[in-house]
C-alpha cells in the first residue's frame, strides 16, 4: 500500500516530481563533476609536485638565498680578461640555490616524527668558450638573459649549461630518484661514492646525443655515462636534473665539501608533517622549510587555474545549486502537503497514525530526490567520461626562489653578475593530462546528498503534515 500510494502520488503529479528530480539531478551531477574534477586536479598537483620533489616527500629543507645574491652561486668564479680567448668550465650551485652544511641532515633525521631524510646537492655546470667581449667598446646593455651567450661585444662566445644533481644513491626511496627509472645501463647505486660516473636524463641525453658508455665533462672532469634515466611521469618528460652523479663526487667536483642544497624529509604520518616542519624550523632557524601544502601553492599555470576553478567557482556553484535544489524540494513538498490538507486530514481521520502519515510524505520526498540523484549520477558520470576523453592538458609551472634543482635558465655569464636585489626566481613546467577519477565513493556521496535533500524536504513536509489536526483538516473543506 505504501509503495502503491507513493508511486501513484509521484506519477499523479508528474510536473512537480519532474521539477524536483531535475533540480536534484543538476545539483548531484554538478557535485559529482566538481568532486571528480577537483580530485583530478589534486592528483595532477601531486604528480607535478612528485615530479619535482619526489614521491613521498612531506617537507623540503633548503637554504634561502640572501638578498642580493642573485648572481652566481657558490663554487667558483670565471676569470675574464677582456678580449682574451678562453675556455673555462665551472660547477657551482645554480641561480637561487645556496648550499648548507650536510651535518644538518643528521639533525633533521634525529627529530621526532621524521621517518626518513635524504640530501642532494643541486649544481649547475657552465662552460664558457670563445672571446670575451670588450666591454669598454660596448654601450651599457643589460645583462644577457637567455643563456645563449652574450651579445654585447663585437666578438662571439658560447655558454653551455646543464644541471647536475648529486644524489645519495643508497637512499632511493625518497628524493629525486623516486621520480625516475633507469631505462638503459645502470643506476648510481652500482657505483662507488666517488666513482667518476653519471646517469643522464633521457630527454637531455637525446638532446646532446650522449649514450651509455660516452663521457660527459662535469666541473672539468670527464665522467662515464653509466645509465640513462626516464621520468616516471612518462616518455618525453624531463626529470628534475640533466645529470645525476654520486653526492660525494658532486661535493668534490664543486668544492662544496660536506655541503648539500636540499634535504627531502618524510614524516611518520600525515598528521606529523606540520610538527616536523616546525621542529626543523626551530632546530635549524637559518634554513627554509616548506611542506607539500606550501609547495602546492607555488604551482602556477593552467593547473593552478584549474585548481582555483575547482576549489572556488566549482565548490560555490555546487553549494548554490544544491541549496536551490534542496529549497525547491522543501518548497514543493510543503506546497504538496498544503494542497493535500483534505487528503492527509482524511487519512488521519480514518485512523492513520502521525508516524504513518509522516512516513508517507517523507517517503515520497525521498524517492523523488533519489530519482533526481540517480539521474544526476548518470549525467555526472557521463560528463566525467567526456572530460577524460577530451584529454585536457594542464601545465604546472613550478616557481621557486630557492627550490631544489631549478633547471638551467636565465642569467648572463658567471662573473658578469645577475640582477641585484631579491633572489632569482626559476621556473620548471610540467604538462599533465587531467584525469578525473570515477570513484564509487563520489557516486555514493552524491547519492547520499540526494538522500539528505529528500530527508530534509520530507522532514519539513512531514512535520507540517504531523501538525495537521484531522478536525481542522476536515473543517477546512466543510
Amino acid at each position: 500500500m505504501f509503495t502503491t500510494y507513493l508511486r501513484r502520488e509521484l506519477s499523479g503529479r508528474r510536473k512537480q516530481t519532474a521539477i524536483v528530480a531535475i533540480g536534484m539531478a543538476v545539483a548531484i551531477a554538478l557535485v559529482i563533476i566538481v568532486n571528480a574534477f577537483a580530485a583530478g586536479v589534486r592528483d595532477a598537483q601531486s604528480e607535478a609536485l612528485a615530479s619535482v620533489y619526489g614521491v613521498g616527500t612531506d617537507v623540503t629543507v633548503t637554504q634561502a638565498p640572501e638578498a642580493g645574491s642573485g648572481g652566481p652561486g657558490q663554487g667558483g668564479q670565471f676569470q675574464f680578461e677582456e678580449g682574451a680567448e678562453l675556455s673555462q668550465e665551472r660547477l657551482s650551485t645554480g641561480m637561487g640555490t645556496t648550499a648548507f652544511a650536510s651535518s644538518d641532515l643528521a639533525t633533521i633525521t634525529d627529530l621526532d616524527g621524521v621517518a626518513a631524510a635524504v640530501a642532494t646537492l643541486s649544481l649547475e655546470n657552465s662552460s664558457f668558450s670563445g672571446e670575451v667581449p670588450d666591454q669598454s667598446a660596448t654601450p651599457q646593455n643589460g645583462p644577457p638573459t637567455d643563456g645563449s651567450g652574450g651579445s654585447g661585444g663585437p666578438s662571439s662566445f658560447s655558454i653551455d649549461r646543464f644541471s647536475v644533481t648529486g644524489v645519495d644513491a643508497s637512499s632511493d626511496a625518497l628524493g629525486p630518484l623516486t621520480t625516475m627509472a633507469v631505462t638503459d645501463g645502470e643506476g648510481l647505486s652500482s657505483a662507488g661514492d666517488t666513482d667518476a660516473v653519471a646517469v643522464l636524463d633521457s630527454v637531455y641525453a637525446s638532446e646532446v646525443g650522449l649514450a651509455v658508455g660516452d663521457t660527459i665533462s662535469v666541473g672539468g672532469t670527464e665522467l662515464t655515462v653509466i645509465g640513462i634515466a626516464t621520468s616516471t611521469s612518462g616518455e618525453g618528460v624531463a626529470t628534475e636534473s640533466n645529470v645525476y652523479v654520486p653526492l660525494a663526487l658532486a661535493q668534490s667536483l664543486s668544492g662544496l665539501t660536506d655541503q648539500v642544497s636540499t634535504v627531502y624529509v618524510q614524516a611518520t604520518s600525515a598528521d606529523a608533517v606540520s610538527g616536523v616542519a616546525d621542529a626543523i624550523s626551530t632546530a635549524l632557524p637559518d634554513l627554509s622549510v616548506e611542506t607539500q601544502e606550501d609547495l602546492a601553492s607555488s604551482v602556477t599555470g593552467s593547473l593552478s587555474s584549474a585548481s582555483d576553478l575547482a576549489s572556488s567557482l566549482g565548490r560555490w556553484l555546487s553549494i548554490a545549486v544544491l541549496a536551490a535544489a534542496f529549497g525547491l524540494a522543501v518548497l514543493f513538498t510543503v506546497a504538496g502537503v498544503n494542497r493535500r490538507t483534505r487528503e492527509l486530514g482524511t487519512l488521519k481521520a480514518i485512523g492513520w497514525s502521525r508516524r504513518r502519515v509522516i512516513g508517507q510524505v517523507a517517503g515520497e520526498s525521498l524517492v523523488q530526490s533519489l530519482i533526481g540523484g540517480a539521474i544526476g549520477a548518470v549525467v555526472g558520470l557521463l560528463a566525467i567520461i567526456g572530460l577524460n576523453l577530451a584529454s585536457i592538458t594542464l601545465t604546472a609551472a613550478q616557481a621557486a626562489t630557492a627550490g631544489p634543482g631549478a633547471p638551467p635558465g636565465g642569467g648572463g655569464p658567471g662573473g658578469a653578475g645577475g640582477p641585484g636585489g631579491a633572489a632569482e626566481t626559476t621556473t620548471s613546467a610540467v604538462d599533465l593530462v587531467l584525469h578525473a577519477p570515477i570513484s564509487p565513493q563520489i557516486v555514493a556521496i552524491a547519492l547520499g546528498v540526494a538522500v539528505v535533500g529528500g530527508l530534509l524536504a520530507g522532514a519539513v513536509g512531514g512535520w507540517r503534515a504531523a501538525r495537521l489536526s484531522p478536525a481542522v483538516a476536515l473543517r477546512s473543506i466543510a
Binding site: Y5, G12, E343, T346, A349, I350, W352, A471
Partner: protein
C-alpha cells in the same frame, strides 16, 4: 454507545473573540441507534460530530464511549479508537484521488492491521468484498474521478465499513448528491443499520432524510434539543 455530559467547545478567533460551538451538551446514544442531527450552519453540528468521532477534544465535559472518556485520551489513543471503532462518511467523499476504489477502501484497513497480520492479498479481498456489499464490485479498479457522486459516496461508505466499526458517523452524506442518488445512499445506510445493528449518527441539512431516522436531534447555538 455514547454518554455525553456537559460537553463544551470554544474557539478563540481574532475577528469575533471566543466562540462557543458547543455549550454544555448532554446526550445519550444507545448501541444500534440511528440518529440524525439537524441545525443551522454554524450551530455546532460538525463540532459535535468531531467530538463523537474522536477528531477533537472538548474544552470541557466528558464523552464516554468505547470504554473510555475520549476527552482524557492522548492523540495516539484517539487515533487508535478512530482506526478500530469509528467509520466516517464525509459530505465531499474525501477519497484519495490517485488510488482506485479498492485501494481507497484498503487504506482504512492499514491502521487496524498495524501488526501486519493481514496479508496484502487478504486486505484486497476484504476491500472487494465490502465494495460488492455496496454494489460496486465492478468498479473496484476505477479511480474516484471515473465514478459518479453516488458511486464515490458508496466507496466512502465501504471505506468506513471495511474495518467493521462500532459506529458510523456521517457528515452530510447526501449533501452533494441529486435526489435519486440521495435515496440510493440512504438505502445503503438504512440497510447497514438494519442488517448489522450498526450505530449511525447522521448530520444533515436534509429534512427529508432526517425524517426517515427514528431519532432526530437539533442543535443551534451549541445547544442540543430532541425533536419529535
Amino acid at each position: 454507545m455514547y454518554s455525553i455530559t456537559g460537553l463544551t467547545k470554544t474557539y478563540a478567533t481574532k475577528e469575533r473573540g471566543t466562540i462557543s460551538a458547543l455549550a454544555g451538551v448532554d446526550l445519550e446514544i444507545a448501541d444500534g441507534e440511528l440518529v440524525s442531527i439537524q441545525g443551522p450552519t454554524g450551530g455546532g453540528k460538525s463540532t459535535l460530530l468531531q467530538m463523537l468521532g474522536a477528531l477533537d477534544r472538548p474544552t470541557d465535559g466528558s464523552i464516554k464511549a468505547f470504554d473510555h472518556d475520549l476527552a482524557a485520551l492522548s492523540d495516539a489513543e484517539l487515533t487508535t479508537i478512530r482506526a478500530q471503532s469509528i467509520g466516517f462518511v464525509f459530505q465531499h467523499y474525501n477519497l484519495i484521488p490517485t488510488l482506485t476504489a479498492a485501494e481507497n477502501v484498503e487504506a482504512a484497513i492499514l491502521p487496524v492491521n498495524s501488526g501486519g497480520k493481514v496479508t496484502a492479498q487478504a486486505r484486497a479481498e476484504r476491500a472487494r468484498e465490502v465494495l460488492a456489499q455496496v454494489g460496486l464490485a465492478d468498479r473496484a479498479t476505477h479511480r474516484p474521478a471515473e465514478l459518479s457522486g453516488g458511486q464515490q459516496q458508496r466507496v466512502a461508505i465501504a471505506r468506513a465499513l471495511v474495518k467493521r466499526p462500532e459506529v458510523l458517523l456521517a457528515d452530510e452524506p447526501t449533501g452533494n448528491l441529486d435526489e435519486a442518488m440521495r435515496d440510493e445512499i440512504w438505502d445503503v445506510i438504512e440497510t447497514l443499520h438494519a442488517e448489522r445493528g450498526l450505530t449511525v449518527v447522521l448530520v444533515t441539512h436534509d429534512t427529508a432524510i432526517a425524517r426517515r431516522t427514528p431519532r432526530r436531534l437539533r442543535i443551534a447555538n451549541g445547544r442540543l434539543t430532541e425533536l419529535d
